[in-house]
Symmetry: C2
DNA sequence: ATGATATGCAATCATTTACTTGCAAATATA
DNA sequence: TATATTTGCAAGTAAATGATTGCATATCAT
């Protein structure tokens, strides 16, 4: 269980995404997180470890409890990667929309213009 | 090799992200993609299959070639998931910045105000 | 028709993943 | 101090992942 450990890998798992959603607003301790899931506490503990290792989570010891806090800024890598393609595809959609509107005005201009 | 197959899972692999980057601008055929990587053509073929199964890729048969075209709109799911947290953390950053600026103007107001 | 090209499919394999159960250690609480 | 609570660590397991090699098939060029 010691290999690739990056943010993309971390958020690939739906349980881990749920954990992030659960602690995004305010820190939550380990047992409280585990209580929300069907799987064992150990399984959640492992997910927390993975999230911690890739920097998406930081842990504050508080007596015998451990508060898990989301480090949302670490999602920036994903945000930027997706953003570039998001811009690409939305600009294409706009171009298509513009084209279709031109077509609607002068439906046959492309077929006739060359002949 | 037949289980979870969603966009988050698909982009978890760096090779698959590289493939998406390679075909984002225009369609490319299978061998041309495979030629860019160290791994075997079969390995790439499997990655293409995974990308296809989650809708990030569509294939157009063109004679004996298969043109792989990126379906960037399928990244929307990821975009929206990250976006909500991006907004959360940037608004926090702004709040922090505002707070620090207030502190700079009246450095001790919080400590003195109550005593 | 013949050979080269583009690609898929199947079998196989080493690692990694996501879990589980059991046990130990530290910290609260009665 | 005795006991309950919170959590980590270790060993074990089934399934998924990423990759390889070998063989088959369709299409294009000569």
């Amino acid at each position: 269980m010691e290999a690739r450990r990056d943010v993309f890998q971390a958020i690939a798992d739906p349980t881990r995404r749920a954990i992030i959603g659960m602690i995004a607003e305010q820190p939550v301790n380990v047992n409280a997180i585990a209580a929300q899931f069907e799987v064992s506490r150990q399984a959640i503990s492992l997910h927390l470890k993975i999230l911690t290792e890739c920097g998406l989570l930081s842990i504050k010891q508080q007596g015998r409890e451990r508060l898990c806090e989301a480090r949302l800024d670490k999602l920036n890598e994903v945000h930027e990667w997706v953003q570039q393609y998001h811009q690409l595809w939305t600009s294409r959609l706009k171009a298509l929309k513009g084209f279709l509107e031109e077509e609607a005005k002068q439906p046959t201009i492309h077929k006739k213009s060359k002949k």
